[in-house]
Symmetry: C2
Subunit: 328 residues, 2 copies
């Protein structure tokens, strides 16, 4: 089995309650609980093949060698995996996304979830989902959630053991929920969310956000179990605005919105005003996710197309990470 390849696939996710701000120490220990839906169709597929001990790792993203920052992030993550497994082999990583990278769709979430699942397989760690979720969190906080399908919560924590994701409900629990992703920019964002988390506590608004989240998270959990789009949407918009308020008031201020982000938010409010129920949420990027019901999907997409000339993806609640081994 030496040099076997393990391939894993994981979907991105969209958070209704955002993860923003973590504890110092590089372990991606979030300061607040976050809740997301795993997104069908936005998939990272990652293959890990072990090499000789002590050799440098090799990382390919989308068929090309990774840029230095992405390489360092991946190899540091692999160090965590090797430490956990008591192994020393280098790894050859090949990863590809079914969607543009670094543009507000959480490519680091699907990417590190797939890498965690593949690397854990390759290095002979178990497949305990909670353990895989902790491991993925070390690569990217939101990746912890992408191990699971459906609706998922990531627990905050002050120690590595405390912070892992847990399912709230499987994808079958709310099959007609839709997330229309408006791709407003495929450009990489200027400040990655991995960096941005460090600035959260410099915002005069951050303590207020943290204090408000438990009640909002409870509303989101209930909304998921009740399939209540109104409650989910209102809480999700409020939480996204709260996160971006923290970003814009941090030092330095972080701006992820473009003029078209604002136009999309206006278009969503206008839809609601005329009785078409849809809600926006926005990650750390310019793209706008629009939550709606399957039966309103065509009308929502038409309204978005009338307001903005932008490509769209349409996602449903998606499955958790999956992996397969292939003989060398």
């Amino acid at each position: 089995m030496a040099n076997a390849s393990v391939t894993a696939a994981a979907c991105a996710n969209i958070a209704f309650i955002k993860y923003w701000g973590n504890r110092p120490g590089g372990l991606n220990l979030p300061l607040n609980p976050s809740i997301s839906m795993t997104l069908s169709g936005c998939v990272s597929t990652t293959t890990v093949t072990l090499g000789t001990s002590g050799a440098p790792d090799r990382v390919e993203l989308g068929g090309a060698p990774a840029e230095p920052a992405a390489f360092v992030r991946a190899t540091r993550f692999l160090d965590h995996v090797r430490r956990a497994a008591g192994r020393a082999e280098s790894a050859q990583v090949a990863s590809s996304n079914s969607f543009p990278t670094g543009c507000g769709i959480a490519s680091s979430a699907s990417g590190f979830a797939a890498l965690a699942a593949a690397a854990a397989g390759a290095y002979g760690l178990g497949a305990d989902p909670r353990e895989l979720s902790r491991l993925a969190r070390l690569g990217s906080g939101s990746a912890a959630r992408s191990l699971y399908g459906g609706f998922v919560e990531l627990r905050p924590g002050s120690r590595h053991e405390e912070s892992f994701a847990e399912p709230i409900a499987p994808e079958s629990a709310w099959p007609d929920l839709r997330d229309v992703v408006l791709i407003l920019s495929e450009a990489e964002k200027k400040v990655s969310s991995a960096e941005g988390h460090r600035f959260a506590e410099t915002s005069e608004m951050f303590a207020g956000r943290l204090a408000a989240i438990p009640e909002r998270a409870a509303r989101v959990r209930r909304a998921i179990l009740d399939r209540d789009l109104t409650a989910l949407g209102e809480a999700s918009e409020a939480d996204a605005l709260s996160m971006h308020a923290v970003m814009m008031t941090s030092n330095p201020p972080l701006f992820y919105w473009s003029p078209r982000t604002l136009a999309a938010m206006e278009a969503v409010r206008a839809m609601r005003h005329r009785g078409l129920e849809a809600y926006f949420t926005i990650d750390a990027g310019p793209n706008v996710h629009v939550l709606t019901r399957a039966r309103d999907l065509v009308a929502v997409q038409e309204a978005l197309r009338a307001a903005l000339d932008a490509p769209m993806l349409c996602c449903s609640p998606g499955p958790g990470a999956q992996r397969r081994e292939t003989a060398p």
Copy 2:
């Protein structure tokens, strides 16, 4: 002297530290200190002529009878003046602005400052500036600042006597500061700031904003006295973003930005990035005020024109309210 007319003129102002949120009770008692520059050229001119006791007031804005909401606000203000003066005559008010109304230039500030000065004269109240400032505050909180020229601070308070404006420095203290007002929309805003103040405390962010203001206000006062555009601009941007963060996270959320507001903010950041020093601030409306030095004015206006097709006003530090009486 019966039926004498008193005419007063007052300028709008732009706040570096914004007034947002007040105490219940209708007296416009702010919860935080605010600091502004009075704007040359953005003038409201108001004439008050007394009529017979007990007759209804008559209010004309820009030559046309005031809309019901504006009429009620003016006549309530006149009731305050009559109560203070122990008088009962009705008033005929004619007011006009040199700039569009309700579009983010504080027309209520210049309007109520001019009305306070004119009505106080017509009803025989004194001309004590602190007393006039308190009186103007009853019409509109920010009007209290427009009584003074130059750089002005409005004190918060829990009682009418405590809350009035005071000069920080006259307009001659920093004559080459400029405020370029980008008129992005002349439409009336959907939620007036008079209404919006009531929602401030529903934001999870408001307590954090209030706690951060004393230090930021101290930086702004120092920056004015030192003529330090960098310090003034950084604090003004931070405060504007803080206020809009509160607005967007209040319940209901208040959105005053348009896509072009965001484009203007981006244009200002891009100017700074290439060494042209300018800073934005935004009131409760879509328009963007750009602070810069007189010597950079042309370059800033050209850069704004290249980014946005929008009319601009250019203001300097302006004078305080002035009045004159005319015999009937």
